[in-house]
């Protein structure tokens, strides 16, 4: 495809890209051969992957849907494919309408120039005069939190255990490993972790090791329980 000069960022989402592809054919949404559209879309998205662009999940999701449409259209009976294509055309038509309306709206923004004024400061007494049952406030709270989907916020106490836990830094474990290696030449891999007092410390220790290996300051030798950590004295030792 020679004209992949657009980056995906130019498209707000998969629907946008599909409309663009349709627009290039100068055919209406209802006339364009759906399989051709599918192929073009997939080619486009595939090309983006080749160029190592990060694809938003929306684009991948649409690709999966299009592949499914393509697959079912290969079946001897086309019913499902026709139905799915029709649905896609319908959605594209809706989206296309939406874009047209947005375009119209964006051309009639003169009204943004009407200046109004803040309400007069005679401070009328607007205090609320109605009386409600206490249960109404309860119901509003349940409603605010949404039934089912959105959970109420966790109470503060549930964060305490997280906050009170000491976070062990990777740097501190690096200096620990150095100090130990300076004295002992070699360390038992497992033993280093056995001495950890928390999960955070274990993670930090492991990250410290990875860092040091990458910097060629230590290496790991052996397997199983006998695995050892050795200090690298001279860089040439590392193979």
């Amino acid at each position: 495809m020679q004209d992949i000069s657009y980056k995906l960022d130019n498209f707000e989402g998969p629907m946008d890209l599909l409309l663009h592809l349709i627009g290039k054919r100068k055919l209406s949404i209802w006339d364009i051969p759906i399989l051709e559209l599918v192929d073009q879309y997939l080619e486009y998205v595939g090309q983006m992957q080749v160029e190592n662009m990060e694809l938003a999940s929306d684009f991948i999701e649409m690709a999966a849907r299009l592949i499914y449409i393509k697959t079912v259209s290969l079946l001897p009976v086309h019913e499902e494919a026709d139905e799915l294509s029709m649905q896609l055309r319908g959605e594209l038509s809706e989206f296309s309408d939406c874009k047209k309306v947005a375009e119209m709206l964006s051309k009639r923004t003169q009204g943004f120039d009407y200046f109004c004024r803040p309400p007069q400061q005679i401070e009328p007494d607007q205090s609320y005069t109605r009386i409600h049952e206490p249960v109404e406030i309860y119901q509003a709270y349940i409603s605010a939190a949404g039934k089912g989907r959105r959970k109420l916020p966790p109470p503060v106490e549930s964060f305490k255990s997280i906050i009170s836990k000491k976070i062990v830094s990777v740097a501190s474990r690096i200096s620990y490993l150095f100090a130990e290696l300076a004295v002992k030449e070699r360390l038992n891999f497992k033993a280093v972790f056995m001495s950890s007092t928390s999960r955070s410390e274990m993670v930090a220790t492991f990250l410290a090791m990875l860092t040091l290996i990458k910097q060629r300051k230590i290496r790991i030798r052996g397997r199983g329980d006998a695995t050892e950590i050795l200090a690298v004295k001279d860089e040439t030792q590392v193979i």
Partner: protein, 193 residues
């Protein structure tokens, strides 16, 4: 009871003091007349302001009215208030606004279904700018919020009511486009499936 001239002046004073758009009904109550009469008074005020070449004008926004400075003075006003020109909305914001305007009240899910992308950020911006507002919740699982446009929306797009929205673009229709009608009822039907 006040004469028409006095009512007109009173209506002007009320609109001025309120600042925001105000229900015609509330003006009628304050003037001690019925809504159609209040409507007439406001129309006469609007005509009078035009006739006198006033710097102000009356806008009808749905069942509300608002007193505003005429747009031709926007530039000098900005000068004095030292405000910048309103940043125009992003194309995405116009799209979301379009869906809300033509299908209200709508859920976020409906908007996202049409546009195929997340729109939480855009919705927040639009409600902060006073163009859309929450209209309650839908009685469906998850109790989703529903959104509609505000009187500000009408003002900003020079509409006197939602019925004034430009017609939807003509679709080059396929044989049966019955099901692609942009309508909220179809969404509800779908969600309750």
């Amino acid at each position: 009871m006040m004469g028409i001239d006095d009512m007109r002046s009173a209506a002007e004073a009320i609109l001025f003091a309120c600042g925001d758009a105000i229900e015609t009904e509330r003006i009628a109550q304050a003037l001690g007349v019925d809504s159609p009469t209040a409507e007439k008074v406001l129309k006469s005020l609007s005509d009078k302001l035009d006739e006198n070449g006033s710097g102000l004008c009356v806008l009808k926004l749905g069942n509300m009215h608002q007193l505003c400075a005429r747009t031709q003075y926007a530039e000098v006003i900005r000068d004095v208030l030292e405000t910048k020109k309103n940043t125009p909305l992003s194309p995405a914001a116009f799209e979301v606004l379009a869906v809300v305007a033509y299908n209200q009240p709508v859920t976020k899910a409906f908007i996202e279904q049409i546009r195929g992308v997340d729109c939480s950020g855009v919705l927040a911006t639009l409600s902060q700018r006073g163009l859309i507002q929450e209209m309650g919740r839908l009685d469906l699982p998850g109790r989703p919020l529903i959104y509609g446009t505000t009187p500000e929306f009408l003002r900003c797009f020079c509409l006197s009511s939602l019925a004034d929205l430009p017609e939807l673009p003509d679709r080059q229709k396929g044989e049966d486009s019955g099901d692609v009608q942009l309508s909220f009822s179809s969404l509800v039907a779908e969600e309750t499936d």
